[in-house]
Amino acid sequence: MFEIESPVAGHVLMRGRLDAVQAPKAEAFLDAVKGEIVIDLSGLEYISSAGLGVLLRKHKQLSTKGGALQVVKVTPHISDIFKYSGFDRLFKIEKAS
């Protein structure tokens, strides 16, 4: 199960498991979101390299306009994945409290 929505402009919520099957859905959704965005990952249980690729692609899009992806409420497991992949050097990351 994977869900993605934008209840407020510039704010995206992801929930469930972002794996290779769900990555195209996430990518299409994020491509349609214009401008700076904050992604709330509090409900994201799992991410694979396909999901990481989606986030990196969005970050690159924002970077070309001087922006940067911001992810918040990152759970410990996903925070570890970001750290090992070096994404913690690329994105603005806020861990879940």
Partner: protein, 139 residues
């Protein structure tokens, strides 16, 4: 006790794989904290087999058994060329976003997350076995 699964060469099988492996882990009392890393490794290895071994229609076999503090997982792919994931060039995770290219990160992270990893190739069959235990990661 061993869990065995035969999977079609389609990433849509991931849902069935997760359901089967989680059911096994639940039944065997495998600690929850290692499940995401096990899921990650299985997905990356399975997807690699599906994506890069296009000249076969053989099912991919996945088996899981418990080991002290965790699980051991084996993926077997028949009628394929040799490909040891450990021989891939390492990914430079210090590169800025603009210089990062797709590919390789999943295997790189898998090798970071698992505790042991072996590759065997005989009679055009690739066999990968990894284990994941509760003990601290060496990363």
């Amino acid at each position: 006790m061993i869990m065995k699964l035969k999977c079609a060469r389609n990433i849509a099988e991931l849902a069935r794989i997760v359901a089967a492996t989680h059911a096994f882990c639940e039944e065997q009392g495998v600690v929850n904290e290692i499940w995401p890393d096990v899921d990650f490794a299985i997905e990356e290895l399975f997807v690699n087999m599906v994506k890069y071994n296009k000249d076969t229609v053989s099912e991919i076999e996945i088996s899981m058994t418990t080991v002290p503090g965790g699980v051991s997982v084996t993926l077997i792919d028949h009628n394929v060329d040799r490909f040891d994931p450990r021989e891939r060039a390492p990914v430079d995770v210090t590169l800025p976003a603009a210089q990062r290219k797709p590919g390789g990160l999943g295997v790189f992270l898998t090798l970071k997350l698992v505790d042991s990893f072996s590759y065997d190739y005989h009679d055009r069959t690739s066999t990968i076995t990894f284990s994941k235990r509760r003990e601290a990661r060496d990363v």
